[in-house]
Amino acid sequence: MNTLLETLELRKYYPIRGGVFRRKVAEVKAVDGVSLRMEKGECLGLVGESGCGKTTYGKTLIRLLKPTAGYILFDTPSDVRLEIKELENSDGNSSRLKKLRKQYDLTTFGWQNLKRMRRKMQIVYQDPTSSLDPRMLIKDIVGEPLKVQGLARGREIREKVVEMLEKVGLGQRQLYRYPHEFSGGQRQRIAIARAFVTNPEFVVLDEPTSSVDVSVRAQLLNLFVNLGKEMGLTYLFISHDLSVVECISERLAVMYVGKIVELANTEKIFRNPLHPYSIALFSSIPVPDPKAKRERIILKGDVPSPVNPPMGCRFHPRCERAMDICRREEPELIDIGNEHLVACHLIKS
């Protein structure tokens, strides 16, 4: 149980400004209280549909966005985490809590401290075309993190860059080229090289295989698995492609309108999803087998807007089995046994 990264009630709200004086009229609650734990060396999958907040969560997690509230605890020893949780529950304002936050909570870190952390946390984007600066040579793109973090100078940078490029399946010959000279799959490898060159501990993979072909997808997934093992990496694999997530992640979290609705071991959750949304989600994946029986749950209605999510359980307007309590009270994410967490009033045993 070696937790590398933990978020407690992480929230990210975007203000909507209106009127002549640009006052805040409403908020987009993109991430609304997400508490997840990422164990060292594991790959945690995060699935949900567009607009559910998974990309926002990933980016807030590594402080590319400024969180509105909550904690991000990176590499914090378990006793400290426990203490923080207790203090938060009892007295949110104690000076001890403040001190601990200053030391461990990424949401309080200033620019300098964050820069230090950035070496350890990285991200690979979905679109390899827009995530690489079109005017930079490959050697500069992959070498920039080393330069900025002060990890190498001069000749050493070049050597490390070549080493990294070779690890992702490219070579020295690509150093003096521009991104547009490469195919989509190769550009994604360059993006991976850039993210991994500082030897990070944690990498957010934001739909890294969505923009590439099926055959290239397998190559990239193999790369992630191999490099992950070799470099001892922890991944947060964000995707809306459930078939990919099923194969690469050990645990899986399902997100809906800014909140986690179910979290469990991947195999368990695919075999036996419990939350009505998860059930509908998994049933809609097209299976590449023409003879497979399809019991599709078609969800009625549309995904609610994160500006004004429904009262109570956010899923209740679309849920076939919604009860009275679902309209009033928001269900908590509870462990119903075997480390299977669900947020649903129907399942409370």
Binding site: K59, R135, Q149
Partner: protein
């Protein structure tokens, strides 16, 4: 990288107009550099004042002759000298207007784009106000206040010229700011300054460079127009606009021969025309070769 350079050159070679544009600009640059050789200035005198014989200041221009290869204009100034040194003037006007304009626009546009919010609003409204002024009218007003001289003309053009660029730069920076690679640079730990200099600006200024090279021609034309109106260079100054101004009375020639004084305005006119054309074509060529991503690969 070499491949890119080769590709650029091949692109230029493919488009005959680009080659023409480059050739023209190079030609004029050569003329400007070799001006002291082609038309030696008189010692101890301002090289930009065209020479004329001390004994003969007659009004009527004289057609080309061995002593004056292009002829003379009103007041017996040597046209050849005027055109050659006018090239330097043209370059001077062009660059001394466009560079300050770019600097002002860069600063204002970047600040507006970077800070956003109310600063952006205020700056853009200010830009709009300046934009609304017709260039020539403002230039005339300024020059009438400050007095006619080429420097004042350049100042006027700078003061009215920057809004368009500021807008473009702001727009480009806003566009680039939200690209993934800028965020990725932040994820790597780049400071804001580094991001602006290394990532945002190189991607944002290319369209500005293209605009600028197309604009140099327009600037020279505006300056020439102002000189023509008498607001720019003083009489006898080696500036194409000024020279054409002095041909105002001679466009109709005399009753016997309507084209008697063609040289007085056609030759300097040709210089202006070709100069502006060259820069326009060059601007188009820039557009084709500068952007590695816009090219059809």
């Amino acid at each position: 990288m070499l491949r890119e350079v080769k590709f650029s050159i091949s692109r230029i070679m493919k488009s005959p107009l680009s080659i023409v544009g480059i050739a023209i600009v190079v030609f004029f640059a050569a003329v400007a550099i070799l001006a002291p050789v082609l038309a030696p200035p008189r010692p101890n005198k301002d090289p930009f004042i065209m020479p004329r014989p001390k004994w003969d200041w007659s009004f009527t221009p004289r057609p080309p002759s061995p002593s004056n290869p292009f002829g003379t204009i009103e007041g017996q100034y040597d046209l050849f000298y005027g055109c050659i040194w006018g090239t330097i003037s043209a370059f001077r006007i062009g660059f001394m207007v466009i560079i300050p304009v770019l600097i002002i626009a860069l600063i204002l546009g970047s600040v507006a784009a970077y800070y956003g919010g109310i600063i952006d609003e205020l700056m853009m409204r200010f830009t709009d106000i300046i934009f609304a002024f017709p260039t020539l009218v403002l230039a005339i007003a300024l020059v009438s206040v400050l007095g006619p001289s080429l420097d004042n003309v350049m100042l006027a053009l700078i003061l009215v010229g920057w809004p368009g660029y500021a807008r473009v730069i702001r727009g480009e920076i806003l566009r680039v700011k939200q690209e993934d690679y800028v965020e990725a640079a932040k994820a790597v730990g780049c400071s804001d300054l580094r991001i602006i200099i290394r990532h945002i600006l190189p991607n944002a200024i290319y369209s500005t460079v293209i605009m600028a090279s197309l604009d140099i021609g327009a600037i020279v034309l505006s300056a020439a127009a102002l000189s023509f109106l008498g607001l720019g260079a003083p009489a006898g100054y080696a500036d194409w606009g000024q020279i054409i101004a002095r041909a105002r009375h001679w466009i109709y020639g005399n009753p016997a021969d309507p084209f008697a004084f063609w040289h007085a305005f056609i030759i300097p006119g040709l210089f202006i025309f070709t100069f502006v054309l060259g820069w326009n074509l060059l601007g188009d060529a820039f557009r084709d070769i500068l952007d590695p991503t816009l090219r059809r690969r």
